[in-house]
Symmetry: C2
Subunit: 135 residues, 2 copies
């Protein structure tokens, strides 16, 4: 194999990042399977505060150290702006776990409890979407 | 290297699935970087219809063939149920792109336009969250 990409394309299936994705049989797109996705959107109490925003990002970076988290992303609204898009949140927090038990363990992990203790004063609203493979 | 996981752990950084993730320097968790995340939640017009739900899943499976999609997940609400969790949606559609331009190209891809044409009668509400790396 000359590149990782070719390796994946040629084999059709691959376990990567500790089992993050299995590749669909149709090209380069990777289908996430058998994972627990926990996607959180935060709205800040002080919506315009760059300082509070930076603090929340710092908190999420610490939170990312929870061992059961397999993959994470700390995001902000993209520039896209259509009627169906909610771009009012300040920060998004995407995490992927191997299963529901790992996500439950994350909820009570000391690092998570400390995150809530130290940073929850920053936000006014949180929406969480937890999802598993559609059956 | 004896396993892919060890390969990733030993190198600390890895490009996988065509550049899906770079690993954080702290263990097995993978930090998603330099990606465009497009997460959509669908509510069905006929909320209780298993048939309509199955049709929407079928539509998303077809939609997943758009070439610019790097990673996708077709989800349903997990069993978790706390005050901050919105579990009222029927189906979630997570997609990851290399950049904003690829996502824009997906929006006007013939496969996407055909998806909207063939399946949009099924849903009553859609919420989209687009996010990029928080800076």
């Amino acid at each position: 194999m000359s590149t990782r990409r070719e390796f994946i394309s040629n084999t059709g299936k691959a376990m990567v990042a500790g089992g993050l994705v299995t590749l669909a049989e149709k090209g380069d797109s990777a289908m996430i399977e058998n994972k627990f996705i926990h996607h959180v959107y935060f709205w800040l109490k002080n919506a315009g505060s760059k300082e509070d925003r930076a603090k929340l990002i710092e908190g999420l970076q610490k939170l990312s150290k929870v061992k059961t988290i397999k993959t994470f992303h700390i995001g902000q609204p993209a520039d896209t702006n259509r009627e169906v898009i909610d771009r009012s949140y300040a920060i998004s927090w995407f995490t992927m776990f191997d299963n529901a038990a790992d996500q439950q363990s994350y909820q009570v992990d000391p690092i998570h409890l400390k995150f809530v203790e130290d940073y929850s004063h920053l936000w006014s609203k949180v929406i969480v979407y937890d999802s598993v493979d559609a059956k």
